[in-house]
């Protein structure tokens, strides 16, 4: 299986930095490039395919530098957002195109195209033209066309964003199934975190041309390194304060709302006696009328400022003593809590996420 490496790849368009010092390695897995629009993910995948030349840095496939190899000699297979099926060729000829360009003999070509169409369940539609099949079928044909050439790297550029919600989900699972079956090294560009988590083994979250954090879905959700990552995967409450003594893997942080305990985590995060930021997700918190006792629960006194029932959850907003507002999502509303009441907002210490101190601004 192939290995794709990006080393310090950068690209500027005029004065705009599209991609800045991106380094990442992908090996027999699917890596999702996730991020808001304009974060550089599309530029990155286009550089891997060879459509955009990086200003600096290297792109390697199996340790061969392909940075200056033209697209048609890179052996990457790309699935485009708008399918990019050749309208003047049948489904069969679309899938056969890459094999024809490689000079694969006719008999083998036909066999492989048929296998590829079988893989995506469209063997009956080979004679149709792209405009005679549905959007979901078109994208599956595009997937087959990219896979049939047995590319070293499969590139998927927002392949699901032109499809309606229901199709998107089924095709997402289909892509996942095909990627798992073929074990192909692939890069999947998306702005949708659910898509990224459902399809990819690892996710690289990008922002302003940088990869902010790479990890599995669980790692990104539970151990975000900064506010951007924490907020990207859902609402978050942030508490800042000076780090205190470290004991038994727990740091005491004297936040503006009061002292709290937080798991120290690993690496540079555990540096104490500096300005630290803690993130806590609203759904991990609860409102209590009295302070919970015990080493494993943090409680800060607050005043309830609003209560909204949002169907399955109840959202509280409470002002801490420095008047910063905390959001709390509870599945069961707390009995007897009314707006204006003095309460405690609490969370289990283990749910606190210590962010990279360097990212605190």
């Amino acid at each position: 299986m192939s290995t794709l490496q990006l080393r310090d790849v950068s690209k500027k368009f005029g004065a705009n930095t599209a991609v800045a010092n991106v380094s990442v390695e992908v090996k027999s897995e699917c890596l999702a490039l996730l991020g808001p629009s304009g974060c550089g993910k599309t530029t990155t995948i286009n550089m891997i395919a060879g459509f955009i030349k990086p200003d600096s840095g290297e792109i390697l496939v199996n340790d061969n530098d392909i940075t200056s190899v033209p697209p048609h000699r890179r052996n990457t297979g790309m699935v485009f957002q708008d399918y990019a099926l050749f309208p003047h060729k049948t489904v069969f000829d679309n899938v056969a195109f890459g094999l024809r360009m490689r000079g694969v003999p006719k008999a083998e070509r036909e066999k492989r195209v048929r296998e590829a169409l079988d893989l995506i369940g469209l063997s009956q539609l080979g004679h149709r033209f792209p405009e005679q099949i549905s959007g979901g079928q078109r994208q599956r044909v595009a997937l087959a066309r990219a896979l049939v050439i047995r590319p070293s790297i499969l590139l998927l550029d927002e392949p699901l964003s032109n499809l309606d919600a229901r199709l998107r989900e089924s095709l997402r699972d289909e892509i996942r199934r095909v990627l798992t079956t073929t074990q192909i090294t692939s890069v999947f560009v998306t702005h949708d975190q659910a898509e990224a988590f459902a399809v990819a083994d690892r996710v690289a979250l990008m922002n302003h041309g940088h990869i902010v954090q790479v990890g599995t879905a669980k790692e990104l959700y539970q151990r975000p390194i900064d506010r951007f990552v924490a907020k990207f995967f859902g609402d978050c409450n942030f508490f800042q304060g000076r780090g205190g003594p470290l004991s038994d893997g727990v740091v005491f942080v004297d936040t503006n709302g009061g002292p709290v305990r937080v798991p120290a985590g690993e690496g540079p995060n555990s540096s104490s006696a500096s300005e630290l930021t803690i993130a806590v997700r609203p759904e991990q918190m609860f409102v209590a009328a009295s302070e919970s006792q015990g080493a494993d629960v943090n409680c800060l006194s607050a005043t309830v400022s609003s209560i909204r029932h949002l169907g399955s959850i109840t959202r509280y907003e409470a002002a801490l003593r420095d008047s910063s507002v905390v959001k709390i999502d509870q599945q069961q509303p707390s009995d007897g809590v009314v707006v204006g009441q003095s309460v405690f907002v609490c969370w289990a210490a283990e749910h606190g996420m210590l962010l990279n101190a360097a990212a605190v601004k």
Partner: protein, 307 residues
């Protein structure tokens, strides 16, 4: 006129049957009447008049005004006119091909440059059309003449031979160049129009699948722009067949074409009847050729480019 309801625009102004709205109907039918009158007066009437004349015996023959095929018979049977018609076809075919070969790269350039460069280049493509055909043609006289720009440049470069000492006018080459120059903007626009509809991601997809640039062109770009090529050829070919001033100035008697015969018959020999027959024959020839071409091409395109 009822206001738009639920955000649906009221389109009755634009040709849809309006629900008995007097003002809108009057507007619609009034406009159609004007168009019809213009069509009759400027397009149909001269054509019918020419056709009627072409079936009359030549005025100078003194015969009665009985309708006759005599004019057509002499056009078809006279070997002189067969030669002239063949030469005309050659002028049209060669210049149409030259326009295709030169126009396609220009159209492609227009497609790939940025919007600002494109609008500037478009100005250069269109600008010759703002100048009279006569002036444009005399431009070629200045370039190709015996003491013209081309020979001056050659002599200045030290190339002094029979070629650089003789005129390059009054031959097929000069005519083909001149005619191509006159009509090439139409060819460029037709091809550009179809290139514009070619999604660039298709070219990226082809390259990604292993096609080197020339194969991307012949496998994807060219087949997808065939409709534009057909439209361009069917526009410029009849124009080239019928072109008169450019051929007369650059070719002279050496490149005598059908339109020149018609002109001579009508203005010099005052044989309007025969001139009408020549005009009608030209029209028929063009219609047959373009019709056949379209018939053949539509089958090729149906194979290659599904609607």
């Amino acid at each position: 006129m009822s206001p738009a309801i639920n955000g649906t625009a009221d389109l009755s102004w634009f040709g849809r049957r309006s629900n008995g709205n007097v003002f809108a109907s009057a507007f619609l039918y009034g406009g159609m009447a004007v168009a019809l009158v213009i069509f009759l007066v400027f397009f149909l009437a001269p054509m019918i008049y020419m056709l009627i004349e072409s079936f009359k015996p030549p005025m100078m023959s003194g015969e009665a005004d009985a309708l006759t095929f005599e004019n057509y018979r002499s056009f078809v049977t006279d070997p002189l006119y067969q030669t002239i018609l063949q030469r005309t076809l050659r002028v049209a075919a060669l210049s149409s091909s030259l326009m295709l070969l030169c126009g396609y790269p220009v159209a492609y350039l227009l497609r790939i440059v940025g919007p600002r460069t494109r609008s500037r280049l478009f100005f250069f493509v269109i600008s010759p059309m703002l100048v009279s055909v006569v002036v444009r043609t005399y431009g070629w006289v200045v370039i190709l003449g015996k003491e013209g720009v081309l020979n001056s440049v050659l002599l200045a470069a030290g190339i002094d031979n029979g070629f650089s000492r003789s005129t390059h006018l009054f031959n097929m080459t000069a005519v083909v160049i001149g005619v191509s120059h006159v009509f090439i903007p139409l060819m460029i626009l037709a091809i550009y129009n179809s290139l514009q509809k070619v999604d660039f991601s298709l070219l990226k997809a082809a390259a990604n699948l292993g096609a080197p640039p020339y194969r991307v062109f012949f496998e994807v770009t060219l087949p997808l722009t065939l409709p534009g090529i057909i439209a361009g050829l069917t526009t410029v070919f009849p124009l080239a067949m019928g072109s008169f001033i450019t051929v007369a100035v650059l070719g002279g008697p050496a490149v005598w074409v059908v339109s020149m015969s018609a002109y001579q018959q009508a203005t010099t020999l005052l044989n309007w009847q025969f001139a009408g027959a020549i005009g009608a024959a030209l029209l028929i020839a063009v219609t047959i050729i373009v019709g056949l071409f379209n018939f053949v091409m539509s089958h090729i395109v149906r194979e290659q480019v599904r609607p």
